[in-house]
């Protein structure tokens, strides 16, 4: 049987290469030669002799071709070519990059996947696409680990019994054949703005007009959709334009954190830069807990979530009184009860600032606040003239769908008999009052296509493995409305079906074998003249360039808004009861990423908690309850209770408890299931992780916050794994995290140079000369604290790029996490009673000191300096004395205390000689082949991605061929952390190249290096943070002061005359930055 391999198409952009004139002309001889995989005679036996070896080879090959072996089943029929045959464009050892995109509930994220030998190993943002510009978030980075997760659903199962794919397909055909007009049939899907899915939905609705099409997202934006529908009409979406806003007020909208898209993070950051190009924006945040957004706020109002509606009403009234806007007047309605005076002033001054920036301001409401609040905020924006400017409208891609409540109702009254669930995990995360899992059990047919065998699989008839997005064809819309492609990087590892595969069957089509479904949609949507070329470009670029989505005009209906706004629930002002706020988790999202070890071990950007969630409470509430970190409390709301540990969160509102959702999974896999580690259930209480299920408190009426909760301290404790034991700066702010207000910065742009000890110390001098660093490249990095939001995507990107292992909860408790880059988070407070701390995030990686203290102390020369300025590690030479780590002032070196890559996390302490070693094969596939996987007993640390440096150097050398200077062009590549950074806060580059971005940033007057007095000559510069407080706001003078570390707001700008005094004065500790938290 002769298999014809289609020659891959040459890329449509860039230079065209050919390997022979035959190919260039595409002669029949060349075609024939291509079809013959080996030159003439190569495959035949020589002299009729059959050796054992080539006999077996042949037999194996024919078995495979005959489809008898497992590999044979997987043998691709179309464009995907098994790697046993040479593939054009693929050079062993060189990575290939393909565009694709990742579905998220807020739109697709355009990506580029790096593949080595046919397996994707690293995800990057698509640099061509405006929604990414090369950046991604933590979830996209970790999706590579999800792909290779050995715990993924691997088998087709009927009521728990393993069946074949054919069995399933037959059962599915029968189900479709018996579905009639679709009555009793329901699809329960995740939100997914895919045009092909919408097209198939149309086909299915034609075939089964009575079928129900439901979409459920536990962290979805039902409330804001309802508000948008009321305010602007059906099918309208509202998109904020953060880059156009001078003044932003967020009412619990964590638009930089949990709810962020990369595009929004960057849009905010472009206006946060103090580069003089743009006016710096000002951010007001109203929230109950510190979020990533709140950490960036210039003014932050700490208030329980249940009172945010009241703040919105106060704000609306205030803005109405200032603008006399008719529309808003119709919405504001009855006068408000008098509330706290301090807050009234806060609201008034904020309103003044918003009104003063009409058309350039923006008010955002968290997407899960009640629809009334959201609608009111639309009216406020309308009154501020922001519609069409900072807030634009867009036609919704997806048609409205039924809710999960309707599915539950259908199941209750038996009007639904067959439920097709693709993705999601409703048995775990549906509101408790729906009792969804129990109802699913009553349905005749529940076909569940899911990535994991989870809580929902337990109640499904069929569990079918869901193909990962890196394994399937697809398409989608980004949040900005652009149309992107999804192309597979690898065949489904576990023979999973994609969502489109399932829907195609219902639409009466064959299960697609390639991109044909997507191509059909593309034809209809783009209507290309030259399909082949445009399609190829769509795949190559990941989207069709130049097709900017159009904004729709927004016309607000004040009456509808007023009606909704009048339903804003009254605030909870009862001081004896608590409100419980159920928030999306920064790591596991709604629980879907619970089995991802990278995410479980990623410290929460605010709490620095890993492997669990906890009830966040304010220090004052903790004092009132008499609890410390890890004390277990029983929360009860109505008749529902949840027993979980508390974690004291500075900056949290009083009488409010925040619990992130997505934990407490009872069936998630070896990483995410509660009480389970990689080898089953353990008794070691420090290993038990997985957190506590916040969904158990959630009802469909109040999906976000519940009031009237009671707290009972149980007296039990729970170990929480927090990566940063100490949260305050101990008065070291002026040295470590320098910042100033915008006015101070304008007055003294180089303020950072003379802060802290740098204002007092004489210039450094060295007793001896240092070896010259004389390479033509000199690598360096800047970290802009002004735009770093602390999102920690860099940590995961580094983990993925550099094969950094996870170590498990107990090892994190013991302080042995391996991250090469960490995001230090400090709370700065004026004194120990300061309940309004400021937050600052500071990424910390190897500072690549030119006079590296680690290098001199290594007894075996395992860490040395390269001529291009890198502090490099020779793992093979390291014997693990740990002296280098001790002598590192930044404590960025990481030691392999155990063989984390070989040993199972729960069994690290088992006798090594007799315990099982090795890693799952799929995990091995996820490793970056260009980076050593380290063994136990060696030190490791950030290398500035030396493998990328070397790759670029080789490319430069190849490019110059025989002569000339092999100089890497400026910014031709970057490190993983800089590449992923959504706000561009981290910039890596060649400081010896005057054209590099780094060289330009090094001229920034905000630049400073840490601990300059040690004369380390680091290659990492921090750019000081600028805050933009409103001078009219009470307490504005306090802004940044706790970090500056002096009660008198003094940091030295030493003009000539003051120098002597400055040199003599000793920096004082400043305000008592007392220890607020230490886990011991």
């Amino acid at each position: 049987m002769k298999r014809i391999l289609h020659h891959p198409e040459a890329p449509k952009t860039g230079k065209q290469y050919w390997r022979s004139l035959g190919q260039a002309r595409n002669t029949p001889e060349f075609q024939g030669w291509l079809e013959r995989e080996f030159p003439q005679g190569a495959a035949e036996f020589k002299g009729g002799e059959v050796s054992r070896r080539n006999f077996l080879q042949l037999m194996g090959a024919s078995m495979a071709l005959a489809g008898l072996s497992f590999a044979g089943c997987r043998r691709p029929e179309k464009h995907l070519i098994p790697f046993t045959r040479g593939v054009e464009w693929s050079i062993p050892g060189k990575a290939l990059f393909f565009t694709t995109s990742m579905p998220t509930r807020r739109g697709y994220m355009p990506l580029v996947a790096e593949t080595h030998d046919g397996r994707p190993t690293k995800i990057e943002g698509n640099p061509l696409h405006p929604a990414s510009k090369g950046a991604t978030d933590a979830w996209a980075q970790t999706s590579i680990l999800d792909l290779y997760d050995p715990d993924r659903s691997r088998f087709f199962k009927l009521k728990g019994e393993t069946k074949t794919a054919q069995n399933f397909e037959k059962a599915l055909d029968e189900l479709i054949a018996g579905a009639g007009d679709g009555a009793g049939l329901a699809f329960l899907l995740e939100s997914n703005p895919s045009p092909t899915r919408e097209r198939l939905r149309g086909e299915i609705e034609k075939k089964f007009p009575k079928a129900m099409w439901a979409v459920y997202e536990p962290l979805g934006s039902d409330a804001s959709n309802e508000a948008a529908k009321a305010a602007f009409g059906e099918g309208m979406e509202v998109v904020p334009q953060l880059e156009k806003a001078d003044v932003i007020l967020s009412l619990d909208a964590d638009f930089l954190g949990v709810a962020a898209t990369v595009a929004e993070q960057r849009a905010f950051a472009t206006r946060r830069k103090a580069d003089g190009e743009n006016k710096m924006n000002r951010l007001y945040v109203v929230e109950n807990r510190f979020t990533v957004t709140g950490g960036m706020a210039d003014h932050r109002l700490r208030i329980p979530v249940s009172q945010i509606g009241l703040v919105a009403q106060e704000l609306a009234a205030e803005i109405f009184s200032q603008t006399k806007d008719d529309g808003l007047g119709r919405v504001v309605g009855s006068p408000l009860k008098a509330t706290a005076k301090a807050r009234q002033e806060w609201v008034k001054i904020t309103a003044e600032d918003l009104v003063a920036n009409k058309g350039k301001s923006l008010v955002l409401a968290g997407s899960r606040l009640p629809a009334g609040v959201q609608a009111l905020v639309f009216a406020i924006n309308a009154a501020l003239g922001n519609l069409g400017k900072t807030l634009i409208g867009r036609k919704s891609v997806s048609k409205p769908a039924a809710s999960i409540a309707e599915v539950a109702r259908g199941l209750s009254d038996k009007s639904l008999t067959s439920i097709i669930i693709v993705g999601g995990n409703p048995a775990y995360n549906a509101a408790v009052d729906l009792d969804f899992a129990a109802k699913l059990k009553t349905a005749a047919n529940v076909v569940r296509v899911g990535a994991y065998e989870d809580e929902t699989s337990d109640v499904a008839t069929w569990q079918v493995p869901l193909a990962h997005y890196l394994e399937s064809w697809g398409d989608g819309f980004c949040m900005d409305g652009s149309h992107v492609s999804v192309q597979p990087m690898i065949l489904p590892l576990y023979a999973g079906w994609s969502e489109l595969d399932v829907l195609a069957k219902f639409a009466g089509l064959k299960k697609p074998e390639g991109p044909e479904l997507v191509q059909e949609t593309f034809r209809q949507l783009v209507k290309p003249n030259d399909f082949v070329a445009v399609w190829a470009k769509f795949l190559h670029d990941g989207f069709v360039m130049g097709e900017a989505p159009k904004a729709e005009a927004l016309a607000i209906s004040s009456d509808a808004v007023g009606k909704l706004a009048s339903q804003i629930p009254p605030p909870n002002l009862d001081v004896d009861s608590y409100e419980v706020v159920l928030v999306g988790d920064f790591k596991v999202d709604d629980g879907r990423y619970a089995n991802n070890g990278w995410l479980q071990e990623l410290p929460d950007p605010i709490t620095k908690l890993t492997w669990d969630n906890a009830a966040l409470i304010s220090p004052a509430t903790a004092r009132k309850l008499g609890v410390e970190d890890g004390a277990r409390v029983e929360l009860s709301v109505e008749n529902r209770t949840l027993d979980l540990p508390v974690l004291i969160a500075p900056g949290h509102a009083e009488n409010s408890v925040s619990i992130s959702l997505g934990y407490g999974r009872t069936k998630a896999g070896r990483v995410g299931t509660v009480g389970q580690t990689s080898e089953g259930f353990v008794t070691d209480r420090e290993m038990i992780s997985g957190g506590f299920n916040g969904y158990s408190l959630r009802t469909s009426q109040s999906p976000y916050y519940l009031t009237g909760a009671k707290i009972k301290v149980t007296g039990k404790t729970y170990r929480l794994a927090v990566t940063q034991e100490h949260g305050t700066l101990e008065g070291r702010g002026p040295d470590l995290t320098r910042e100033a207000t915008l006015d101070e910065f304008k007055a003294e742009p180089a303020f950072a140079k003379t802060m802290g000890m740098d204002g007092h110390n004489p210039p450094n001098a060295s007793l001896y000369s240092h070896p010259p660093l004389n390479d033509i490249h000199q690598w360096g990095m800047t970290v802009d604290l002004n735009t770093c939001i602390g999102c920690s995507a860099c940590m995961v990107a580094c983990q993925s790029e550099n094969n950094i292992p996870i170590v498990g909860k107990r090892q994190v408790i013991e302080g042995r996490e391996m991250h090469w880059i960490r995001t230090d988070r400090y709370f700065a407070m004026m004194d120990e009673h300061d309940e309004e701390p400021e937050m600052v995030s500071q990424p910390m990686m190897c500072q690549q000191c030119e006079n590296a203290p680690c290098e001199t102390v290594c007894p075996v020369n395992a860490t040395v300096h390269s001529e291009d300025g890198l502090n490099v590690m020779a793992y093979n030479r390291c014997i693990g004395t740990r002296y280098c780590a001790n002598n590192c002032p930044f404590k960025v070196r990481r030691f392999n205390f155990f063989d984390y890559n070989q040993r199972k996390i729960a069994k690290l302490r088992d006798w090594n000689l007799t315990s099982e070693k090795g890693t799952e094969d799929t995990i091995k596939m996820s490793k970056n082949p260009n980076v050593t996987v380290r063994m136990r007993g060696v030190m490791e640390k950030c290398t500035f991605c030396v493998q990328r440096v070397q790759e670029a150097k080789i490319a430069a050398k190849v490019a110059i061929r025989d002569g000339g200077e092999a100089r890497i062009p400026a910014d031709a590549f970057t490190s993983a952390c800089a590449q992923v950074c959504p706000t561009g806060a981290i910039v890596f580059g060649d400081k010896a190249n005057k054209d590099s971005r780094l060289s330009k940033l090094l001229e920034d007057e905000r630049g400073y290096r840490l601990l300059e007095y040690l004369n380390l000559n680091q290659r990492v510069w921090y750019l000081a943070r600028i805050r933009n407080p409103n001078p009219k706001m009470p307490g504005a003078e306090k802004s940044g002061k706790a970090i500056k570390g002096s009660p008198n707001g003094h940091h030295h700008h030493p003009p000539a005359g003051e120098k002597t005094e400055a040199a003599n004065s000793v920096p004082h500790g400043g305000p008592a930055n007392v220890r607020i938290r230490s886990l011991s």
Binding site: L729, G815, Y883, P889, L1010
Partner: protein, 479 residues
């Protein structure tokens, strides 16, 4: 002549207290010291040796377990890259200072009282260095690659890093151990010959004979022996001072507040002598109890002198502690100030390990002040108890230096607590088992008092010896 002899005669109140009391003779010394090796092992010996060797085995098991699984079985973490391992190393190496100091420096300075304690002290030194040597060996992540520390020309073409204090440590400690072994063995040769000559069993005679190197006590032997001993003493003397100075460079040359201190070399040497003498007393006081005959050799005078040295060196150490605090304040460097005043003294409520600092202060600085009193120096129970305080205090000193500096250094974000694991605790206890088991074996098989040297300091050894009694005058006259 007789008048002048009378006039030169020392008044009784100024007469030196004899080094060996009760006017013991040469033969008495040979008999009473050799008998410790020759008699059947007493019950108490077994009662001590069996449990101690079991403890040593537990320690060795812990070491095996740690090497097999990784340093992770200890409590170390980021930022505490070192903790009990290096604490124990410096603790034991410090103890290993007294022996060679007594043998070499006191020999060169003609302190004759050293002779009855130097053998045991030197043995203790060696065993302490053995225990010390374990820790830098096993604390590394990849023990099997520890040979990278040796300057061996190899295929990699990589030499050790001669700038690293850890490498200096390797050289300093191995040199010290080698020279100490040679010095100890050289001193042993005449006594081994004594044991050989007294041995009743053929095996013992053969083995002692091998090690006695054919010693016959001839004039040539003595001349060579004394020159060798003098040269080795001269060689050992700078080593006593250099080893702990080099060990202190591990800390002093780093940049960590609390480590980066120029006072460390003298302060470490003083501390080592301080701790070493405490350990000598810890061992010899019970030995005197068990072997009452040693009372005449290791006298109250010895205990008194060692207590005085403890008082002196303890005060030097106390001065160094104060000077560290002063310099931390005087430098105006907030990181230095934090380490000394917050992390160690526990001001501003930030000292996680300030309890250890106060343990150290109490044990090392306050407790030896008792020795200002002669009465206390004469009370063996008090001396023994104070020595235990000093032993503990010196361990705490190293713990304080290492852990308080590492746990809370420059960036508050990277601060982290340290708690020892059972493996670490048992490894440390195990080294006591190793140390004491080795010492018991030493007592069993080798003369624990340098017989030949003690005999040299007996009045009879003086060619101009004038016995005080008329009888002895008569004898001398006859002579």
């Amino acid at each position: 002549m007789s008048e002048s002899a009378v006039s030169l005669k020392t008044p009784a109140e100024l007469a030196r207290v004899p080094l060996v009391t009760n006017k013991r003779s040469f033969a008495w010394i040979s008999d009473n010291v050799s008998t410790i090796c020759e008699e059947r092992s007493r019950l108490w010996w077994w009662a001590l040796f069996i449990p101690l060797s079991i403890i040593a085995m537990i320690g060795l098991f812990c070491i095996g377990y740690q090497i097999s699984n990784g340093v992770g079985v200890w409590g170390e973490n980021h930022p505490n890259g070192w903790a009990w391992d290096i604490t124990n190393f410096v603790f034991w190496i410090g103890i290993g200072h007294a022996g060679t100091l007594i043998s070499a420096i006191l020999f060169l300075t003609r302190q004759k009282w050293r002779t009855s304690i130097n053998r045991a002290a030197e043995a203790m030194t060696l065993f302490a260095v053995v225990c010390a040597g374990i820790f830098p060996g096993i604390h590394v992540g990849r023990v099997w690659m520890a040979w990278f520390l040796a300057p061996i020309p190899n295929a990699n073409g990589i030499w050790p890093n001669f700038r690293s204090p850890l490498l200096w440590d390797v050289f300093a400690v191995s040199t010290y151990f080698t020279v100490s072994v040679l010095f100890w063995y050289t001193g042993l040769v005449p006594d081994l010959a004594t044991l050989r000559d007294r041995a009743k069993s053929r095996v013992a005679r053969y083995i002692y004979g091998i090690f006695a190197l054919g010693w016959r006590g001839s004039n040539r032997h003595w001349r060579h022996y004394e020159m060798a001993y003098l040269l080795l003493a001269g060689l050992s003397t700078p080593l006593v001072l250099s080893v702990h100075s080099v060990v202190s460079f591990d800390f002093a040359t780093s940049i960590l507040p609390g480590w980066h201190t120029t006072i460390f070399p003298p302060y470490f040497v003083a501390g080592a002598i301080f701790g070493g003498f405490a350990m000598v007393l810890t061992i010899l006081l019970p030995a005197r109890l068990i072997y009452p005959q040693l009372d005449d050799l290791i006298t109250r005078q010895h205990v008194d002198k060692m207590a005085k040295i403890i008082l002196l060196t303890g005060s030097i150490v106390g001065y160094a502690y104060m000077m560290e605090l002063f310099i931390a304040w005087y430098s105006g460097n907030q990181y230095e100030k934090f380490t000394f005043f917050s992390a160690r003294l526990g001001l501003h409520n930030s000292g996680w390990y300030s309890w250890a600092y106060f343990c150290m202060m109490t044990c090392n600085v306050l407790s030896p002040q008792v020795f200002w009193s002669k009465k206390m120096r004469g009370n063996y129970i008090v001396v023994f108890i104070i020595c235990q305080f000093v032993n503990a205090g010196m361990w705490f000193e190293r713990f304080v230096i290492i852990v308080t500096s590492l746990a809370q250094d420059f960036l508050p974000s990277s601060w982290g607590h340290y708690t020892p694991s059972w493996v670490e605790i048992w490894t440390f206890i195990g080294t006591f088992g190793i140390f004491l088991s080795l010492f018991l074996l030493f007592m069993k098989f080798l003369p624990m008092v340098a017989m030949s040297e003690v005999k040299i300091v007996l009045p009879e050894a003086d060619p101009h010896f004038h016995p005080e009694s008329p009888d002895s005058h008569a004898k001398e006259g006859a002579h």
